[in-house]
Symmetry: C2
Subunit: 192 residues, 2 copies
Amino acid sequence: MKTDLIVDNVSKHISLTDEETDLFLSLLIEKKLAKRELLHKVGDVCRNSAFVIEGALKGYTIDNAGGEHVLNFAVADWWIADMYSLFSQKPGVLLIEALADSTVLLLSKENQELLYKQNPKFERFFRILVENALVTNQQRLLDNLSLSAEQRYLNFIKKYPFVLNCAPLHSIASYLGITPEFLSKIRRNIAS
Amino acid sequence: MKTDLIVDNVSKHISLTDEETDLFLSLLIEKKLAKRELLHKVGDVCRNSAFVIEGALKGYTIDNAGGEHVLNFAVADWWIADMYSLFSQKPGVLLIEALADSTVLLLSKENQELLYKQNPKFERFFRILVENALVTNQQRLLDNLSLSAEQRYLNFIKKYPFVLNCAPLHSIASYLGITPEFLSKIRRNIAS
């Protein structure tokens, strides 16, 4: 199990002793996903947070007309889950799917609560993680309201170069809140 | 200082002893805001979380062309802050303005950190608070991607009846991601 990335991820926010690091790592389970494999389905209760070691995943919904709506992408060094379901332990609203062959480390809800009880440092770590996710989400809402689709696409290229290579055009368009046709037009404009 | 609402807000997520409740309340400062008064300005570092006791506030940005982009509204029993600035202690990106005469309770960043150090329960409380805010934000992103503007407006009416009465039309339209003209059209459709 490759653990360097997740140890660095945690060290950004809290300092752990060797024993605390060992405890944390002992609670993780490695899972390999083939391209297009689902990590989570609508209606299932989300039992785990997933930390991406390699590959990329997308979180999305499908509406009644079959339209895909992409909430988020996760690449290496990012966490992903159906947050609504994970926090509430009610049936989830998202599909989470591998965009490429991927490896994730799973931390179960039970083990996360166990960490909180054993050591408040971990409560601190996950509080900061969720704070950062909230700020990222708020920035995305503001970008959707205030930036042109072309500017949002240019920002996307910088932030998600890996996703650009493995996600279908319609998923990237959905994430940006535009039609695939409009995204194709933007790409042609940028190329010319 | 009216404290029932905030004590109930905290009690939803953690159980406090009388001493712990007294400590928490002793760290709050009441602030009254007149309609249109700013609680926070772009470029200022956000020093406080604000809990709304009465009235309503909006968090927004102004773009270079003078256009307003509304990130969020906060009514009684809600917390509001420039989260990016509060967490990072860098200059803020939002204006936070009273939509009506309002009363808020301020908890400073320093006192919040003090609570975390003194008692992990408070770290737990704010972790859960931010988790709920994240889920609300994700739901709004998904709604923007998947629901019609009319459906989003109908949801808004249910969720924010107070804001409906005190926010200008263009702010509500901005929050919904549509033009004021389109919102007027939706309102006429619903009325007829």
